[in-house]
């Protein structure tokens, strides 16, 4: 065995491979702007839908009650669009196969794709939240500190990116890819999304003991992320090779 | 009617149809499913015997 190791060409380290895949995804995205532009546009359209939905609610309606939920809803639908695309272009000319042929540990592929998706998702969130605030929250400030909002957004997005990357890997090989992705994604992400909305909502609404509710929700969300990410991490090797 | 008895039975009578309906649906559902499975099973096993006989004749 030792003889083999010395005779073999020097293998690339996992860290280098991780960076290479991530860099490749970012370069391709910056070049085509396929995901970012379609995701941002989709979010904006969702906001238009919200306007329609809320158009009869009257001036007395306090949007803050449902603001966090609305924003998360926009993220969920947008992220599915992006997740699907990120795997579709791996599949395009059999590139996923080429990746699997390379001496790379499967979890490295998973982490690189998931981190890439997380980055794109966060960018879309950074674009969406101010627009939502300007369009719907006119003059009503959020109750808690801003960093709390950022934290809950991050915890939620982490779960979406991780589980979503896993499910997109399956959906890309299924008939009706994006439909399958959303159908798998929403029930599976229910607990994580509920935690994310509860956390963000607590910050937006404030009120007595909101910090306790926030930490409880964010703690739950982080716990769920940990369990689900561990599970998809363990299962990824089977799914990506099938 | 005695007020005590009235209170006792007030919670029985309106609930009865709902509870009985639930119970009935449960049993119909379970037995229906088992019956369907048994019938399908019978059909497949009959077909299996035919094919096995055909194979035996050929061999």
């Amino acid at each position: 065995m030792a003889e083999t190791a010395t005779a073999a060409p020097k293998r690339s380290s996992s860290w280098r491979q991780f960076k290479a895949i991530l860099r490749k995804d970012i370069v391709m995205e910056l070049r085509t702007k396929e995901m970012l532009s379609s995701m941002t546009l989709y979010t904006l359209l969702t906001l238009v839908i919200y306007q329609i939905a809320l158009s009869q609610s009257g001036s007395g309606f306090d949007i803050r009650l449902i603001a966090a939920g609305l924003v998360w809803l926009a993220f969920v639908f947008t992220s599915m669009l992006g997740l699907n695309r990120s795997l579709v272009h791996e599949k395009d000319q059999g590139c996923l196969e080429a990746l699997l042929l390379a001496p790379v540990d499967r979890p490295v592929i998973f982490f690189a794709k998931a981190v890439g998706n997380l980055i794109f998702l966060l960018i879309v969130e950074v674009v969406t939240v101010p627009i939502f605030a300007v369009a719907f929250m006119s003059g009503r400030p959020i109750a808690g500190p801003f960093w709390m909002l950022v934290l809950s957004a991050f915890v939620g997005s982490l779960g979406i990116a991780g589980v979503g990357t896993f499910l997109a890997t399956m959906a890309v090989n299924a008939r009706g890819g994006s439909f399958i992705l959303s159908v798998l994604f929403i029930p599976l992400m229910y607990p994580a999304l509920l935690a994310a909305v509860a956390g963000s909502s607590a910050v937006v609404l404030g009120g007595e003991g909101y910090a306790a509710t926030f930490w409880q929700a964010v703690g739950m969300g982080a716990g769920i992320d940990a369990i689900m990410l561990l599970a998809v991490f363990a299962l990824y090797e089977f799914v990506v090779g099938a | 009617m005695d007020p005590v008895l009235k209170e006792i039975y007030s919670l029985v009578l309106p609930a009865a149809p709902y509870v009985l309906a639930a119970y009935g649906i449960l049993w119909i559902g379970l037995f229906g499913y088992v019956t369907v499975v048994l019938r399908r099973l019978g059909k497949i096993e009959a077909e299996l015997r035919i094919v096995e006989e055909a194979l035996a004749r050929r061999a």
Binding site: A8, Q93, C95, E97, A102 | -
Partner: protein
């Protein structure tokens, strides 16, 4: 593992079975191929050619039996083995939105190629794509894609090259270029090619294999093969579907 990576056999397959439920894609394939040989695999659709190739390239695990490539087991030593093999498929396996150079640099990084810039440059020159290296792969013709995909497969200097119907979809000119490219690297690698093209496959090979229903129908060195008899055997298997 006494012979390590320097086995005299490039491919050793012993009782290989690949099954799911009652359906067997490979049903007890055994053969050995010396290093430096060129194996052509023929067989009707559903004969198990693709499955065999997937098992040998570590993309699928066998259900039973063993396969060793360059002395490395396809299951136990999969990760090391991937360093020693390359695949040229009818699918280019390239990213359309990256340039030719970026594609090769990316895969060089994945394989940990030493001095990647020089290696990529050499290969691009060898496949005559140096002048197009900054163009997106999306804009390439079928023949250019195939040349670039050969460069990608050769990046890490694999010992065994697998070819999955490399000629399908190529026009005669592109096929000629592919021929000369294969000829130019022929001496350095062992080749395993899946093909539908009987004449081409026989012309290139040192060994020929016919698969049908996941079993070996014929495995002979080229010099023992009479082309007409071979063609007849091949035709007799056509129409034999999966077991």
């Amino acid at each position: 593992m006494p012979e390590g990576g320097s086995s005299t056999y490039a491919v050793e397959i012993e009782g290989l079975v690949r099954a799911f439920g009652a359906r067997k894609a490979l049903d007890g394939v055994s053969l050995t191929l010396p290093a430096g040989a060129f194996l052509s695999i023929f067989g009707p659709n559903g004969a198990g050619k693709t499955t065999l190739l997937r098992v040998l390239t570590t993309l699928t695990n066998p259900s039973k039996g063993t396969a060793r490539i360059a002395g490395l087991d396809v299951v136990k030593d999969a990760v090391e083995l991937r360093d020693r093999i390359g695949l040229i498929s009818h699918n280019p396996l390239l990213y359309p939105d990256l340039s030719a150079q970026e594609n090769l640099e990316f895969f060089a990084e994945m394989y940990g190629v030493e001095d990647p810039a020089a290696r990529v440059h050499d290969l691009l020159t060898a496949v005559e794509l140096d002048h197009r290296r900054l163009d997106l792969v999306r804009t390439f013709s079928r023949g250019m894609l195939q040349r670039l995909s050969i460069a990608r497969a050769l990046l890490h200097r694999p010992e065994v090259l697998f070819l999955d119907e490399p000629y399908s979809g190529l026009d005669p000119h592109a096929a000629d270029i592919l021929d000369s490219l294969i000829a130019s690297v022929r001496a350095e690698h062992t080749f395993v090619m899946v093909s539908h093209d009987l004449a081409k496959g026989l012309e290139l090979c040192t060994h020929a294999l016919i698969l049908a229903k996941g079993r070996v129908v014929l495995f002979e060195p080229r010099e023992n093969i009479d082309p007409d008899a071979f063609a007849a055997t091949y035709r007799s298997t056509v129409g034999m579907g999966v077991a």
